[in-house]
Amino acid sequence: MDVMHIKVFFFLLYICMTPVSKYGSDVDNEEGSAAENEENVKGTAGKRATPRTRRGHARGRARRGGEEDEDDEDGTRRAGHRRHRNRRGQGRAAGKEGSDSDGDPTKARKNEANQKSKEGDEEEDEKGGKSGKGKKEKKQDKKPDKKGKKEKANKKKKDKKKSGSGSDSDSEEEPITEEELAKLKEEVEEKKKLIATLRNKPWKMKKKLSVLKEAQLFVEKFEGALGKGKGKKFYAYKVMMTKKWMKFQRDFENFKTACIPWEMKIKEIESHFGSSVASYFIFLRWMYGINMILFGLTFGLVMVPEALMGKPYGSLPRKTVPRAEEASAMNFATLWDFSGFAQYSVLFYGYYNNQRTIGWLKFRMPLSYFLVGVGTIGYSFMIVIRTMARNANEEGGGDDTSFNFSWKMFTSWDYLIGNPETADNKFASITTSFKEAIVEEQESRKEENIHLTRFLRVLANFLALCTLAGSGYLIFFVVRRSQKFALEGLENYGWWERNEVNMVMSLLGMFCPTLFDVISSLENYHPRIALRWQLGRIFALFLGNLYTFIIALMDEINLKLEEEKIVKYNMSIWEANLYNGTIPENSTAPPIQVDPADVPRGPCWETMVGQEFVRLTVSDTMTTYITILIGDFLRAVFVRFFNYCWCWDLEYGFPSYSEFDISGNVLGLIFNQGMIWMGSFYAPCLPAINVFRLHTSMYLQCWAVMCCNVPQERVFKASRSNNFYMAMLLFILFLSTLPAVYTIVSIPPSFDCGPFSGKTRMFEVISETLEHDFPSWFGKVFGYASNPGLILPFILLMVLSIYYLNATSKSYKEANLELKKKLQSVRNRELLKK
């Protein structure tokens, strides 16, 4: 959708830049010259339209009005000659340009005779015979195009390419009948279809080019004819615009491809490590794109308006650092922790004022905040589902094992490898896989092992569950402890206690996957299945961690809500004290000017939540980077340099160089994104931080992969995993939106901070906007529409349509299977006939 809008915009710009005049003169000339340049520069480029001057056609035909006895080819060639002459003047191969456009039939015919004699059947000969021109010109000459009005009957033509009838646009001598027109239209459509699918045909390039030229010539010749008498100008204009649009599309595609960032880096990695590792980086790049858009939304619509048009820092109590914290507000430690000045800025929820409109633009800040929050989630959903649908279309069929050996033979080589070491690994893995398949084929299954395998698998699953439960409890315990610390005041504890939760989560994320790996060696699955189990377990681990974290946060939120009541009470006392000293309470007096920093502040749970997420993201990033540096880089340095003075061979033995852990990294990326989605409503700075993180991550990981990792031993292709990752991403997206939506809908916003302060629920901003800003009938309509009596049937309708679509898709699948079976039986029958 978005791409289409951008395209249309640029197309209009493009049109403005190229001169547009009435169809016939300039367009042809310009396209002719453009085509010339293109032909000269780009050689054979496929579908480029090389138009002929219509006037050339017309002139040719008009001139030959009297020459009724020429046959097809001659006429074509003459017209061709005339065209060329009109466009290019000299520089022609001898013998062709003899034909004089003022009509010298004999000479022309002689030239044509010469021409004919020179021409053989093969295009190659013709090409070889001429000189000085591109192939295209020669093919034009040979093209047996339609000739004059005499050639009415299509039925006479045996060869499709020669077909064509109807008069040309300029000659008024014979009217076209309706059926001929229809037939002509049909043929033009056919030719157009041929042009469109030409790339997919398995012919040699020359054949393709000649067919293309013919078809294009034909189409171009008759498009004008078709439009005759039926608003020809408009039709011609339409055709011209279509051509321009196609040309523009191709240029736009080229431009788009050139703009893709990091393409060279990824290709290099692909050639060294195979397509599965590269798929991780492609995924990273895609996430970067999404985050850029989210960043654009939050930055442009929330942070910038508030920064530019909202009340400046220090004017309101909520926008100022409280007096108590002022001393340490600028310390690096405080800033790194995202408190102090960072907390009281546009980066977090608490800074925003609940004024309905701000600035001279009357920008509705609370509404924009709410809508941006909802919009980021909605956009993410849309784009993930769209990508999934696209991926699903490309994958065909199911997991057939009916062609095991054939597929091994024909599709196992990864053509994207460009490095001898990887190639060696690939050869070895192919050999191993063949041997395994042979052995499996030859051996009969040993019955005894099944029970052992089953027992081992059950044991492995049990161990994995224990690990998961253990990690969940550990996080819960740590969070409880940190709450205890918070109650006692954080100043008494050191760095570890303060960041305990984050550190524990990151450490768990580092060590548990390896544990799962060890456990999975008990299970003895096929590697692909083992990978899926591994991914599933790590996924469950991260999910458990995340949700425990959220539950802990909910506890804190409730605490803060309790605190609010107390603070409200305290504030009223404080105000009373302020007034006591000066004026009695009853009279209306101007409010005393108090420095905003001194006003007692209510607790702000939203900012607290935002801060937690930001801290978690930052610590996660740091952990990843440090892991890469230590786990990969230092290990590689150690192996490389200590190999000389060590007892066993380090490179082949224990540490050796590390391989790139695709699944771990992808999961880390997905969970990172989940945290962003959860937290971006409360901390608008999160997408910005994430963009920065992904950017540096790309460079760091590209460098680390090329420098410290070795290609994997089992090099397998990334083909089916893409949708698996997308499915996980979708799941995480759904899970991330749940907490945010829950808090929006059911927890009252803080009374003292944020754009929704003072309301009972955050979504009330919508109803408020409807009341004030829209005409009254709109509000009424909305009121009717949000009636439960209307919404429930609507939901029911949607559920029913989902069910129906599911049923039809199942029936299509079954029909598909039936057809396959029929095909098979037809083949068998033919076999028997033989």
Partner: protein
């Protein structure tokens, strides 16, 4: 910019010589069947090998590549050559012949002992890894 090179030393070029079917690819797309290509053939090759080419087109050309003796059928000897190229002659001859028999058994639909274009296409279109 960056690490792009435009001039390769012979040693570096050697490092890229790992595609086991490089000779066949060149032969299939070349004019004279010998591996010499004009610009058109070169473009043809890249057009087929690109990501945007439809699968049946790729299947057609893949068939031609694997057909070593150019007889429009993939027979057992073609298969043997393929396997040996893929594994760099690491498998024993019995294993090789077993593999070839399995392939013919799996993919040969019209039961003539060799793979025709239809057999091949029918088999390869379903493959998830076919790029």
């Amino acid at each position: 910019m960056g690490n792009k090179q435009t001039i390769f030393t012979p040693e570096q070029l050697d490092a890229y010589q790992d595609n086991p079917f490089r000779q066949r690819i060149a032969e299939v797309f070349s004019e004279d069947g010998d591996g010499n290509m004009t610009l058109d053939d070169f473009l043809d090759m890249f057009s087929v090998l690109s990501e945007m080419a439809p699968r049946d087109l790729k299947a057609y050309y893949a068939f031609k590549i694997y057909d070593f003796n150019n007889d429009d059928y993939i027979c057992k000897s073609d298969l043997e050559k393929t396997v040996n190229k893929l594994t760099r002659n690491e498998l024993t001859p019995e294993e090789v012949s077993l593999v070839c028999e399995k392939v013919i058994y799996e993919a040969d639909v019209d039961n003539d002992g060799k793979l025709s274009l239809e057999d091949f296409q029918h088999m390869i279109i379903r493959a998830p890894d076919f790029l």
